[in-house]
């Protein structure tokens, strides 16, 4: 690996890691004031949990050589013996393994026991994430011909459908559907969005694993996806509600980033505009599904990450262009690419949903998923973490 490539992937690893505290702020501002520290800590704590899991066994399950297409070889336990660019790759991929379970936390706002979250995140990053990463990037899905540049399948669909399974076991917040659950600090959410957008350049352009033309293409399409996503969501909202909103622009930017993630190195700038705009429009419509079907995906992990991830992965099967990333989609004569994408999407949806549901059930029957009604009403910051976010007085 050339020095320039190494430098870019080192920086990209730091950029992607920075996304997780960014995500914490994105989610933290969107929830109630009484739960903001719980929201922040679910993401922040995941950094530590997944670092341990990934170093010990996760990496080798995902990338440690092939074990028949289904799981890695277990040959690099504890990252032992890894050096140089292999160790760099393990570090870079660790930051993806960290943010993926953190994404799930948005669905469970305000009602999940912290011990249950720690247990769920640990088991999920041990039993679900490494397998899906292996399938899509080294194993049978990759061999089949499914493509996923930076984690549409592995990160977004995987986390989105896991969130759905988890909230179906966990149940809704008290008052869901009747009470108002207003975001308590949209400025925090917007700061978080900015950090996510910034870090996403490492996520997508870093996934080229080199400082080359593919990385440049990925950075440009990432920027376009985010910008057009914000516009798409805002246009839809402006027409329907009569006002452009801060939360709408922020949500649209993230939706656009999600959709372009699988495609960043496989499509050009014009196609990236379609990814962004469609993601903004479609995800805007998708976030209302939870009210129709009655599942309390509190901060819309399903509506943004599952729906945006499926949209991006399937659209890639149509718009991929061999002159850019070596693979043609249906529009350029290779209809089979769309079929491979479909197989990829369905496989991850089914596997991750079933596994996540089983893990959620296991956590529920062992430590219990939910806090008490009293804790939920009081707010998790005080009742679970014994601290407060906003102290404007020294009165004790």
């Amino acid at each position: 690996m050339a020095a320039g490539d190494i430098a870019w992937v080192l920086i990209s690893s730091a950029l992607v890691l920075f996304m997780t505290p960014g995500l914490a702020l994105f989610y933290g501002g969107m929830g109630r004031a009484r739960n903001v520290l719980n929201m922040l800590l679910m993401s922040f704590f995941t950094i530590s949990i997944v670092t341990v899991v990934w170093v010990l066994v996760g990496y080798t399950m995902a990338f440690g050589g092939d074990g028949g297409g289904f799981i890695g070889s277990f040959g690099d336990l504890g990252l032992a013996g890894l050096t140089g660019e292999d160790l760099l790759f393990a570090m870079f991929q660790m930051t993806f393994a960290i943010i993926t379970p953190a994404l799930i936390s948005g669905a469970v706002a305000g009602r999940m026991k912290f011990t249950a979250w720690v247990m769920f995140a640990t088991l999920w990053s041990l039993l679900v994430y490494p397998l899906v990463a292996h399938w899509a990037w080294e194993g049978w899905l990759a061999d089949l011909g499914a493509i996923d540049f930076a984690g549409g399948l592995v990160v977004h669909i995987n986390a989105g459908v896991a969130a759905l399974a988890l909230v179906l076991v966990l149940g809704p917040r008290k008052g869901f559907g009747t009470e108002a659950f207003r975001p308590h600090s949209l400025p925090l959410t917007l700061i978080g969005t900015g950090i996510l957008w910034f870090g996403w350049f490492g996520f997508n352009a870093g996934s080229a694993f080199a400082a080359n033309g593919t990385a440049i293409n990925a950075m440009v399409t990432t920027q376009i996806g985010a910008a057009l996503g914000a516009l798409g969501w805002s246009i839809a909202e402006w027409r329907k509600v009569g006002a452009p909103t801060t939360l709408g622009a922020a949500s649209g930017a993230v939706a656009g980033l999600v959709a372009i993630t699988p495609a960043a190195g496989f499509v050009g700038p014009a196609a990236a505009m379609a990814f962004g705009l469609l993601a903004g429009l479609v995800c805007y419509l998708a976030v209302s599904l939870k009210f129709r079907f009655g599942f309390d995906d509190s901060l819309d992990v399903v509506g943004v990450h599952l729906v945006g991830g499926v949209l991006g992965s399937l659209l890639l099967g149509i718009l991929a262009q061999a002159t850019i990333g070596g693979v043609d989609g249906a529009l350029f004569g290779e209809v089979v690419t769309l079929w491979y994408q479909f197989v990829g999407v369905v496989s991850v949806l089914v596997f991750s949903f079933v596994m996540s549901w089983l893990i959620a059930k296991l956590v529920d029957v062992t430590v219990g998923l939910r806090v008490t009604d009293q804790q939920e009403t009081q707010g998790l910051d005080l009742s679970v973490h014994e601290e407060r976010a906003y102290v404007f007085t020294d009165a004790q």
Partner: protein, 112 residues
């Protein structure tokens, strides 16, 4: 002595403060509050979901005055806080038994 408590629109605070100064008041306490009256609430929209928010932000102004100044102060607040729109607020006047200036120990009228 009277305690005059006014619930006003937040953007009227500056005008009310100036009117009170002109009326000869020597001190005012102010706090941000939420409440509802006949104005009731308003609608907020987050990710397409509309929420009825009952509590509207208001400002609470408290003035401790001598009996002789009460009418002037109430009139000053009423005219300064007035817009004619729904939600202009309310003024309440309470009788006060005793007042003490903490620094000097003065009591009654001298403390106001």
């Amino acid at each position: 002595m009277k305690l005059v408590i006014a619930y006003i629109k937040p953007f009227k605070l500056e005008e009310v403060k100036n009117a009170l100064k002109d009326a000869g008041v020597s001190g005012v306490s102010v706090s941000d509050i939420n409440g509802f009256g006949r104005q009731s609430g308003h609608t907020e929209v987050y990710r397409g979901a509309e929420y009825e928010v009952d509590f509207v932000p208001k400002t609470r102004v408290e003035v401790l005055v001598d009996d002789t100044l009460t009418t002037t102060v109430v009139d000053a607040i009423q005219s300064a806080a007035h817009t004619g729109e729904i939600g202009d607020g309310k003024i309440a006047v309470l009788a006060i038994e005793e007042a003490v200036r903490i620094r000097t120990g003065e009591r009654g009228r001298d403390a106001v």
